[in-house]
Amino acid sequence: MISWWLSKRHHLNSSINSFFEQIVQNLSSFFFEAGRTVLFFSQSIKLLFTKPSRFKDLLIHMEFVGNQSVLIILLTGAFTGLALSYQIYIGFNLVNATNLVGPTVALGIFKELAPVLTGLIVAARAGGAMAAQLGTMRVSEQIDALEVMGVNPLQYLVAPRLMAAILTMPLLCGVFDAVAIYSAELLCVNLLGLDSAIFWNKIQMWTDTDAINEGLIKAGIFGMTFSAICTKTGFYTKGGAKGVGDATNKGVVYSMVMIIVLNFFTSNLIRLYHSIMESL
């Protein structure tokens, strides 16, 4: 009986140990990869300011990340505005506070939903394409070809993509903000019978440019995040078609998770910054 108990206890102890070892291993590999991504980003972005100029490439990538995402952002923004305002209207109607539907929708969209949803959508669309393009170039030796031609692939391929995402994400977030809020107004005023003047007046009363700026800053940070993750996973792709698929999948999934995690921390950091500034 005692020997049975001792063997079970030993088994349990080793299971617990291996569980914690696995957690530590995963955490250390996460921080290692995060560190490598930051290094990759900092090495690449500074190359954008070295000769030769990649301004034309930057514009091409901005058109790809920004212009080609507008339609999908318009659609997402419109339906997010409609759905959110309807749910908030139902809730606030119960307590006769429908006057506050406008500002609640506006704050939710400006500060949280617009940057996060824009980040997720553009990460899936443009980030996935970045990882797949660079991964294909890696496995078909196009990146090696660039290097042997004396062209720095980080400067030629990575830096313009990073900067394009950082610059266009706030613009797309602004488009999302505008479309979502006008869609909310369309529903609340034209279908649910709220007063248009009250709707806009309450929004002006309860929101300020800081709320919009918070979302735009966050969108820029998310652009930086997904472009760094996706270009890195693509750039260091190994293997053939499977390697490209894995890199794309990894890039998009990591980007999406990081956008949601970073959203929490950046919201709190921005709030902390505002409270410090107010106390000064």
């Binding site: 294909t136 030796e141 090696d144 070809a145 290097e147 031609m149 004396g150 720095n152």
Partner: protein, 255 residues
């Protein structure tokens, strides 16, 4: 017989796993200037790793590589970039940029390194290089996906020649091609070498027949070392049993 040396490799060792196993195990090799050197050997003997060392894409674990008398390890990044401009590489699958046409691919090195040239001038040079590489003009504005394997090799060669390199490296240029295309690529390499006087050509290949047809100087690698080097005649008349078997039966993939 003394001849000028383009690339001088001494005691080159390379390990990718911190010294547990070595791909290159102390390789010594001199590649003569102005000649065609063919490097042959089984798969996994370190041919492509050797080529990446010559291009400065890999750092040796130990040993030295001198290109045109300059030690690669002593060079700064800028100097290595300048050195690479003097080298043209034809990759196994051509490695063309798939969002550029054949003409744009051939003009790419000029666009990057001869910025003083106007677009029309760059295109004129690229057209000339495509022409001497044997690509018909009707294919100049096609994307790589629209070209056959042989045409892609021609565009790859034109791109490699764009900056008039002093060293041309061919990484297994005929692997996976049918016999007719293989012969065409071999002829292309030979005529390119003859038409570019003074160019040093280094061909990495599995193909023994190509080695004998093209090579002024043949190097045989085995297990990360130079097994034998010499002229094609030296290989035919050798007493080395391993090399004789190799020459008589041709290269087979190691089981």
């Amino acid at each position: 017989m003394s001849q000028e040396i383009a690339i001088d490799i001494k005691d080159l060792k390379k390990s990718f796993d911190g010294g547990k196993t070595f791909i290159l195990k102390g390789m010594n090799l001199k590649i003569p200037k102005g000649k065609i050197t063919v490097i042959i050997g089984f798969s996994g003997t370190g041919k492509s790793v050797l080529m990446k060392h010559i291009l400065g894409l890999h750092q040796p674990t130990s040993g030295s590589i001198k290109v045109f008398g300059r030690q690669l390890s002593d060079m700064s990044n800028e100097e290595i970039i300048k050195l690479r401009i003097k080298m043209g590489v034809l990759f196994q699958h051509a490695a063309l940029f798939d969002d550029m046409t054949a003409l744009e691919n051939a003009a790419f090195p000029l666009k990057e390194h001869r910025r003083e040239l106007k677009k029309e001038q760059r295109e004129e040079i690229a057209r000339h290089k495509l022409k001497i590489s044997g690509l018909d003009e009707i294919h100049y504005h096609k994307l790589p996906a629209e070209l056959s394997g042989g045409m892609r090799k021609r565009v790859g060669l034109a791109r490699a020649l764009a900056l008039d390199p002093e060293v041309l490296l061919y990484d297994e240029p005929t692997t996976g091609l049918d016999p007719i295309l293989t012969e065409m690529v071999d002829d292309l390499m030979y005529s390119t070498h003859r038409s570019h006087k003074g160019t040093t050509s280094v061909v990495i290949s599995h193909d023994l027949h190509a080695a004998f047809r093209l090579g002024d100087h043949i190097v045989m690698l085995d297990k990360g070392l130079v097994k034998m080097e010499g002229t094609p005649e030296d290989f035919i008349n050798t007493d080395n049993e391993f090399v004789r078997r190799f020459v008589n039966k041709g290269i087979r993939r190691k089981e």
